[in-house]
């Protein structure tokens, strides 16, 4: 493991020891959160199921605009009071994205929470219908930080900033293949998340993301080569299970 990564983890563990005073374990009884950077004090698992909807820019994708919602399943696994593993599956069947990453959660006070994490993602897609004989896959890395604010009215507001790095890309059309293992900075995503009780003790998550990337995995089949960052708005709606 690189020295830098060891230093970061050691620092986060030190935070873990000294931040116990800020714990608000009664919070769990009333709230459940997926986007909100709230530690998992009592449960081992926390999950949500929902949909994301992406808007692609018309001047680039023209009439081939993606209008198919993407399934979104998240599964958080507690490690200790301040560390979780965030697992996520986004699925459209013809193209899918899996990610997992370690997240550090830090309650700053009873209202403000902070997290930092690093996820690794793998996407893959197949398109074998009339005129297409394509497949693609790739690896991405997503360092991220989040800041949460719990209101007096139990609304959880979180702001999440994430950058991404393309680590590997592979695509094939019939017998024609290309791959690239050159890693590069891919862009940034800013998300605002709102979470609150919704129905029958269920909690609802609403996420609005501004994705500004060179490459976004849901557009792999368009094979559009550009060094311009493209802006994709995305909405996420999920029920915490």
């Amino acid at each position: 493991m690189p020295r830098f990564a060891r230093t970061v983890i050691f620092t986060l563990l030190c935070f873990d020891l000294f931040s116990a005073a800020a714990q608000d374990t009664s919070f769990y009884a009333k709230h459940a959160a997926i986007l909100f950077p709230y530690p998992m004090y009592r449960e081992k698992w926390r999950s949500s199921l929902g949909l994301t909807l992406l808007t692609t820019p018309q001047d680039i994708t023209e009439e081939v605009r993606l209008r198919i919602p993407c399934g979104d399943f998240r599964l958080l696994r507690r490690i200790n009071d301040h560390f979780i593993i965030d697992n996520r599956v986004m699925f459209q069947f013809l193209q899918n994205h899996l990610s997992t990453g370690l997240h550090f959660m830090l309650p700053v006070n009873k209202h403000i929470y902070f997290s930092a994490g690093d996820d690794i993602g793998y996407w893959f897609g197949y398109l074998k219908i009339s005129g297409f004989n394509s497949q693609g896959s790739g690896w991405l890395n997503y360092p991220n930080v989040a800041l949460g604010y719990k209101t007096k009215n139990n609304l959880l507001i979180s702001l999440r900033a994430q950058v991404s790095f393309n680590l590997y890309y592979k695509a094939a059309n019939g017998d024609n293949k290309l791959s690239s293992s050159t890693s590069y900075y891919n862009g940034e995503t800013f998300t605002i998340g709102l979470e609150q009780p919704f129905y029958n003790k269920r909690h609802l998550t609403l996420g609005l993301s501004a994705i500004n990337n060179y490459f976004y995995w849901q557009t792999w089949s368009l094979f559009y080569k550009t060094n311009r960052k493209i802006f994709y708005p995305q909405i996420t709606v999920a029920l915490i299970l």
Partner: protein, 425 residues
């Protein structure tokens, strides 16, 4: 709680904003040497003699190690305008310049652009008398490796060129297969490629030879009153046209309405097919036109115009293929209604069997099927050409040209196809 509703409202407003990309073309009319009244046009023989594959010893970090240099021209009446284009192997870069001679040197003045980004700038190039200009401007130039060295500078944006670039001639341009067609999608490129003229416009047809195109694909639709025009999308939208107040299918409007109220994104009128073909035949040296039928009614009116312009081209000694593109079953069935359809030049995007059925001149598989070399060889034995569409990824363009056996390629980046075809050995 209500106060928090403002958060998603702000976010929705944010999402409603569209990021606008723009390429600001630099002003290239500022080189005093080039504007010198003593500067003269180049000799006719010097232009083709200059064409070739060049190696870059300076500027290769920006443009790559090789360039293919090719001249093109367009005419209007008795006026002919010549441009020299340099196609590079990195980032779909190219330069487009005009040429003059001054005091025994050749000057090339223009701009460069990278199609993968919005980068552009001015380029000033010189071939001194000792570096090949004397040879090129002399009688019967015979060019050998190293006999032409192009030196100069390029800049970014409108700044004065200050970064050196040097190109040295190494060999002739590849011309095998000799009839290979570099076909430009939508007459030259899409709106999203941020070109200075609009897709499917006469201006783009006149511009596209500078990108290395030897042919064009255009999208044909009919207005409400039956005028064939060039337009791609199903509806009038801000991707293709400026705000006009007219919305909905273009087929809902007469040509007069469109001509009066609608302008393409760069201000041109939506051209009629007749205007487009007039430009191809009388103003360019393009060899191939692919009429992509974006409608499903009778193909007879398009066929009549196809015959008319094939005859017009032949009458002035032009070699020009005009084919009717059949992208789907509906158009295919309409094509079968033409009398003697087996003798109508067509391009079939369906399977090889359908191409057999109508005796298509060209079979055009989608690039996502791969090179399909065995199938392509089969079609060649039947005397049919095979064009692949629409290939934009540079790595695939390289691979299709190096490993495939296609007779033509449709691309939004004809300059990238031109580079790969001309430097291929």
């Amino acid at each position: 709680m209500k106060k928090y509703f403002i958060i998603p409202v702000f976010f929705c407003l944010f999402f409603s904003c569209q990021k606008k990309y723009e390429v600001v073309m630099p002003d290239t009319a500022t080189w005093s040497m080039f504007n010198d009244p003593a500067a003269l046009p180049l000799t006719p023989a010097s232009r083709p003699a200059m064409e070739g594959v060049y190696t870059l010893s300076k500027g290769n970090d920006i443009f790559g190690d090789q360039a293919a240099i090719k001249w093109s021209h367009t005419s209007k009446g008795s006026d002919t305008t010549y441009h020299v284009s340099g196609f590079f192997g990195k980032d779909i870069a190219y330069f487009i310049c005009e040429g003059k001679q001054l005091n025994g040197s050749i000057l090339l003045n223009g701009y460069w652009r990278k199609m993968v980004s919005t980068e552009t700038g001015i380029v000033h190039l010189t071939i001194s008398a000792a570096n090949g200009a004397a040879l090129l401007l002399g009688p019967g130039p015979v060019i050998t490796p190293g006999s032409i060295v192009i030196d100069g500078f390029f800049g970014t944006g409108s700044e004065n060129p200050g970064t050196p670039i040097t190109l040295s001639y190494i060999r002739k341009l590849n011309n095998s297969p000799a009839s290979f067609q570099i076909a430009a999608h939508r007459s030259g490129g899409r709106t999203s490629d941020l070109l200075p003229v609009s897709e499917n416009s006469v201006a783009m047809i006149l511009k596209t030879p500078e990108f290395g195109s030897t042919g064009v694909e255009v999208d044909v639709r009919f207005t409400k009153d039956g005028v064939p025009i060039l337009y791609h999308d199903n509806t009038l939208n801000l991707r293709e046209v400026q705000k006009s107040g007219l919305v909905g299918p273009i087929e809902d409007y007469t040509y007069d309405q469109l001509s009066t109220f609608v302008r393409l994104v760069h201000g041109e009128k939506i051209p009629t097919l007749r205007e487009a073909l007039d430009a191809v035949v009388y103003q360019t040296q393009l060899q191939f036109v692919w009429l992509d039928t974006k409608y499903t009614s009778s193909i007879a009116p398009i066929h009549a115009m196809q015959l008319e312009y094939i005859q017009k081209a032949a009458a002035i000694g032009r070699k020009l293929d005009i084919v009717i593109g059949l992208p789907g079953k509906d158009q295919f069935n309409q094509f079968l209604n033409l009398a003697d359809y087996k003798n109508v030049p067509s391009l079939c995007e369906l399977g090889a069997n359908e191409s057999d059925q109508i005796n298509a001149k060209i079979w055009a598989p989608r690039f996502t099927e791969g090179t399909q070399n065995e199938l392509v060889a089969d079609e060649h034995t039947k005397g049919r050409k095979v064009y692949v569409w629409t290939v934009d990824e540079p790595a695939f363009i390289t691979s299709f040209i190096n490993d495939g056996h296609f007779d033509g390629m449709l691309s939004n980046f004809p300059s990238c196809v031109a580079y790969n075809y001309y430097v291929h050995q």
